[in-house]
Amino acid sequence: MLPEARAAWLAALDDGWSDPRRLHREGGTARMLLDGAREAVAELLGVRADEVSFPPDHARTAAAAVLGCALPGAGHVVVSAVEHSAVLHAASWPGPGTGRRRVVEVAVGSEGVVDTSAFVAALTGAGLACLQHGNGEIGTLQPLAPVHAAAAAAGVPLVVDAAASLGQVPLPSAFDVLLGAPRSWGSVPGVGLLVVRRAVRWRAHEPGESSASRPAGEVPGEVDVPAALAAAVSLRTVLAERGGDGAITGSGDADRRHELVSQVRRAAAGIRDVQVHGPAEHRLPHVVTFSVLYLPGDELVRRLDAAGFAVASGSACTADTLRPSHVLAAVGGLSHGNVRLVLPREVSSAAVGRFCSTLPRVVEDLRRELGVVDL
């Protein structure tokens, strides 16, 4: 968590802005604070303040975007095969009175890049299209510019899920609806981020005071005000470290982490029967995932944790659904024995070096114990 986010959040808490009674009594002030957060975020993203809103979390942000845009009777929904599950669930959600929408899922290549011509072809007769900016598991960056141009020509709004990429790579501009996740850039939990350009035909998909208006017609009390304030402050911090226009600067932390991820990729690829996923260079700077043949993901994660490294996994055995990562399935990658790393901004280069030198031993020890060394 960014110190700026934590400080803003605590200050707002201390001022009483999470107390429903204060929000009610001083609703005007609370709305001003919320409007200020919205304006700050809008300025940073290059959009209008009335296009910005703060749904409670990423899943609800995806639902608001997809269900709000995919108006009934307006054609099928196009999605890439590697969209976040929140987007896929929203796309196939029947919703009251709308019936089950047809979803056209476009395949990706072995590095996770969507087949652009197939995606463009699927836009014919579509009512909505969803293509993420960067993939949070395998790091792949998607070709937003040509897809958005084709979508615009076809009159199809494009929802861009930038939950994994905002604050990590230069800002996307080729979108009609943008999803962000403040937690991902180091802010506090409590809000997601939704941007709906004014030109998009959108309406609220659930009841509430704002149902007759734009997403920005939000009511404090429905929005976690301290979390929204923290999101605005921390977004300014992460974008400032990259240069005012969001472009990667030579000394930015993104470059350092990009190289650290390359180190991890090399270390993992150097171990026999380990599959490293996603593109080597053109990718998000801070995520890396690899799969180790024959090893159970949960035990691998446990051993790495015991060695002092907090990692995650996309293997079925570690998922609450007991289904493996659909992203790994989409790229034809091995899903068992999967390890996922997300490098936070302040990650120590020395710690990453220790991880790279510890990993081979952990893998070999577990292989020997399971009797799979010569398999």
């Binding site: 599959q275 043949l293 293997s315 493996p324 091995l334 899903s335 799979v372």
Partner: protein
Amino acid sequence: MNEEILVDARDLRCPLPVLRLARAVRGLPAGSAATVLATDPAVEHDVPAWARMRGHAVLTCEQVAGTWRITVLVGPPA
């Protein structure tokens, strides 16, 4: 004619189905066929991924009532 190998890995969780299949085909001559039955949905993608890593080919993959049945053709030794 090679005898077809059948690996029953139903109710076993990943990576056991792939592990059992790998053990079953170890040492088999190229052209042998082996079939795995599994209920873990991960096999649908992990058996083909393993086959690609080891130079085997997936002949058939079907799912009936929650059980996957995947047949592979053993490739030449590495």
